[in-house]
């Protein structure tokens, strides 16, 4: 079985930024380091998930190396090699093709896919971690996923489950009730103790504060990039920025992430000063909503044909501190991280606030003409309400939405030509609207 047998007919993205072009070499180096530390036992390798609890692992960076299977899945999809892995999860693992593509791809890799002759990102992900931390910052499904893997490893891999409570509609981000904060803080403290046990490294509160400091700096720099993207023309489209989340996902709380986002910020700032962007005569500004089809990031270059740029995303906001009025404070490390995790994914908080405050707010701030929402059949929590969101944004804010359906890593039911046809029609509609308004 090789890549030829599963040729994926979608387009990869073409990057505009120099910083983005450095991502893949970082990934390659990273997996090489992972293989090395597993071989020489110099660090414990831990599978981690979600939007941010990787900070906690990075407190123990002398003895722990976090591995994020979802990044690996996105990498496999970008390299367009997921179909055989998905097929193994379904045919040999017995899992339904309707569930999360991230899980299916990673599980297919673990139970046999790793032996296929495929060009895995970074040469491949370790298949037996030393420990696992599963969290629900992005979804509760992750908890089931990590429990399933705990069973897959016959309970021989120490596993910690971290549950971020869902923020219900009765609360706004600045009105988080105390018990939500307390529960999250208790689990942070418990997770830090778990990590001390599995790593053999003593907990050091100063290192925790340093981690929060790095996390805050990276968040601040990434937020500056988002501020700069409000410029016309937009200096960086989704074809670049979607790839730029990798360092914050993987290295939040480290200097490595801070350095990357400083470089990214500097490049984007220079572009703004020069009045440059991926599309010189920018006419339409789009918001891309939800996890993208990683196997078809070329759609973001495709919209350039219409002088359109995808100037902002919802997904890129989930992994760093960018909501709420209270910034990360190294002197309050537990509360800061708890707020970061509670605020992370908007779809893990009330639908009302997500639509009216977060998405409508982005549309206003970035002068968005239209939204492309990607409804993921395998991701109920992120996608279920998107038709309602479309309805509200059109009705209350006059912003139209194009809904596309598919999976983030499974290209088998993704009809590229049809998606492009629908984008053509959507762009035509936006042009007509603009013309009529003029």
């Amino acid at each position: 079985m090789n890549e030829q047998a599963y040729q994926v007919k979608t387009s990869k993205s073409v990057k505009f930024l120099e910083a983005t072009k450095k991502i893949y070499p970082l990934v390659t180096d990273y997996y090489a380091e992972t293989a090395k530390v597993q071989a020489d036992h110099s660090k414990k390798v831990g599978y981690v998930t979600g939007a941010g609890v990787v900070d906690l692992l990075n407190v123990y960076s002398n003895s722990v190396l976090p591995v994020f299977p979802e990044n690996f899945n996105a990498g496999c999809a970008s390299k367009q090699i997921t179909p055989p892995l998905l097929q193994i999860a379904e045919s040999e693992g017995g899992f339904s093709p309707e569930i999360c593509g991230y899980f299916r791809n990673a599980h297919g890799y673990l139970i046999g896919g790793k032996d296929l002759e495929l060009s895995f990102p970074g040469g491949g992900m370790p298949t037996v971690p030393d420990f696992m931390i599963g969290d629900s910052c992005t979804c509760n499904f992750h908890l089931k996923w990590w429990r399933t893997w705990e069973r897959h490893y016959n309970y021989k891999i120490p596993t910690f489950i971290f549950e971020k409570p869902y923020i219900p509609p009765r609360m706004k981000m600045d009105q988080i009730e105390d018990h939500y904060l307390d529960y999250t803080i208790k689990q942070i403290k418990d997770a830090l103790q778990f990590l001390a046990r599995v790593s053999g490294q003593e907990f050091d509160e100063e290192r925790l504060k340093q981690t929060v400091q790095y996390s805050a700096e990276a968040s601040e720099l990434f937020n500056e990039v988002f501020e700069l993207r409000k410029s016309r023309p937009c200096p960086a489209g989704s074809e670049d920025i979607l790839s730029c989340i990798m360092p914050i996902v993987q290295w939040s709380g480290t200097k490595k992430a801070v350095d990357f986002y400083r470089e990214l910020r500097d490049e984007v700032k220079a572009l703004v000063e020069q009045g440059k962007g991926p599309v010189a005569k920018e006419e339409f500004r789009l918001l891309f909503d939800n996890i993208p089809p990683w196997f078809s990031l070329g759609i973001f270059n495709y919209v350039h044909n219409f002088n359109a740029v995808s100037v902002v995303e919802t997904y890129t906001r989930y992994f760093h501190m960018n909501r709420g009025d209270i910034p990360l404070d190294p002197d309050k490390p537990y509360e800061s991280l708890a707020r970061k995790y509670l605020y992370s994914c908007t779809f893990m908080s009330s639908v009302h606030e997500t639509v009216h405050d977060f998405v409508a707010g982005l549309c206003k701030d970035y002068q968005v003409d239209g939204i492309i929402s990607y409804v993921l059949y395998g991701c109920k929590i992120a996608s279920g309400f998107l038709p309602l969101q479309k309805h509200i944004l059109e009705r209350d804010y006059g912003i139209p939405t194009l809904i596309i359906e598919g999976d983030m890593v499974d290209p088998r039911d993704y009809a590229d030509a049809q998606v492009k046809n629908r984008i053509d029609a959507f762009m035509e509609m936006l042009a007509t609207r603009k013309h009529n308004r003029a």
Binding site: F95, R147, D178, H179, Y183, H352, G384, P387
Partner: protein, 395 residues
């Protein structure tokens, strides 16, 4: 006598909220009705506040309006709940209350709150990892916050005494339902058929507990005198969440078998564990919801093994010949557990049929698959069948 009581039961409720006579009677007394979706929700609390909690049972209706607001990649049950709401079925409902069960339901219920808003709406988070540090304290605080909200919005006292009374009332119902589950599986002429138990479960989540308990007592008292029909086909268990209607029970009986037990949300999981009546009521409720027989949405330690243990205990207890995994299409939580259950049941030599449920359990296609399943059970267990005819019942 038994048949008359069953007829009274049938005429005293409807799965349709707008046609449910129990709700109409309750409303005539100027009292409020709240709708909920998932049994994670602590309905005892709203009952203690003088409100009638009713479960949205959904219906096998075509989903049209709901597609405007909710992605189609969601179980038909949930989408039908929204569809019915959008079509006016919940006009008699005063409040919407939910406790976070599954991810699909989490979105769907909020869409319902946005599109069919009611005077009172609340959404609770329940920890999915019940053993997590702080989970109990969190959930207790969540229940206290809910009580405060009800006192304020409904101007009710909602004292501990009210909660204790409601818990006791619910516990009595749990005991009665457990008794019915004892009788349903006994012998080859069960005192309650699978179909009847399905009706009883619909009834108890749609009516006030006092009246429901009285009818249940009468049913149990008279069941021994009824002349029930014999069956010779296999004794089956169902595992899943909720079924679109009672068709599955009916088809099994038409084919000569009997559903003798279940591991369903709208089944044994609703009442299996009692709430502790000896400790402070909110403490007892918080512990109960975190520790009760788990559903597939929970991610506590070895939760799937606990669910398997319950299923295997039922297989043994009811001398079941096979298990039907009736999984809702697009239900991530049950889809994730399905390979494990199939493997475990097969390893133990227990025949298992896995079916996907949508608007219906599958009509004629399901009929054919079930026929084949029954045939397979009979071929593979000739001797067992003989025993069954000899009167295999509850152990």
């Amino acid at each position: 006598m038994f048949e008359n009581i069953m007829e009274r039961l049938r005429s005293s409720y409807s799965v349709s909220i707008s046609e449910n006579p129990a709700i109409a009677n309750w409303k005539q007394q100027q009292k409020q009705v709240f709708g909920y979706m998932c049994h994670n929700f602590p309905e005892e609390i709203i009952a203690a506040a003088g409100v009638l909690p009713v479960k949205f049972l959904g219906k096998p209706v075509p989903v049209i309006e709901a597609n405007q607001y909710q992605s189609t990649f969601m179980c038909h049950y949930g989408r039908s709940v929204l569809e019915l709401g959008l079509n006016g079925d919940y006009d008699q409902i005063n409040g919407l209350v939910y406790a976070y069960g599954c991810e699909g339901g989490c979105n769907l219920f909020q869409i319902l709150m946005e599109t069919v808003p009611k005077n009172y709406q609340n959404f609770l988070h329940i920890p999915h990892n019940s053993n997590a540090k702080g989970a109990f304290e969190f959930y207790l605080a969540e229940l206290e916050s809910f009580c405060r909200s009800l006192r304020e919005k409904l101007s009710c006292s909602l004292h501990d005494d009210d909660l204790s009374k409601a818990i006791a009332l619910y516990n009595r119902q749990r005991e009665l339902l457990k008794k019915i589950y004892e009788l349903r599986g006994s012998g080859n002429n069960p005192l309650f058929t699978g179909l009847e138990v399905g009706e009883i479960l619909e009834f108890v989540v749609s009516t006030p507990k006092e009246e429901a308990n009285e009818l249940l007592r009468q049913l149990i008292a008279t069941a021994g005198q009824r002349s029930s029909k014999m069956f010779s086909g296999p004794r089956l268990l169902i595992q899943g969440t909720i079924l679109p209607d009672l068709e599955l029970y009916q088809i099994v009986e038409e084919l000569g078998g009997m559903v003798v037990g279940d591991d369903l949300c709208q089944g044994s999981r609703y009442f299996w564990d009692l709430v502790d009546e000896t400790v402070a009521p909110l403490v007892a409720l918080a512990k109960h919801r975190l520790e009760r027989l788990p559903c597939s949405c929970m991610s506590s330690e070895k939760v799937v093994e606990k669910r398997l243990e319950h299923l295997l205990n039922q297989v043994k207890h009811y001398h079941a010949d096979g298990v039907i995994l009736a999984v809702q299409k697009w239900c991530d939580a049950t889809q994730m557990d399905r390979p494990f259950f199939i493997e475990q049941l097969q390893d133990k030599g227990i025949p298992v049929l896995s079916v996907e449920v949508e608007r219906t359990v599958g009509g004629s296609q399901f009929y054919t698959r079930l026929e084949a399943f029954i045939e397979m059970i009979d071929v593979n267990s000739g001797s067992k069948k003989k025993n069954r005819l000899g009167g295999g019942g509850v152990e």
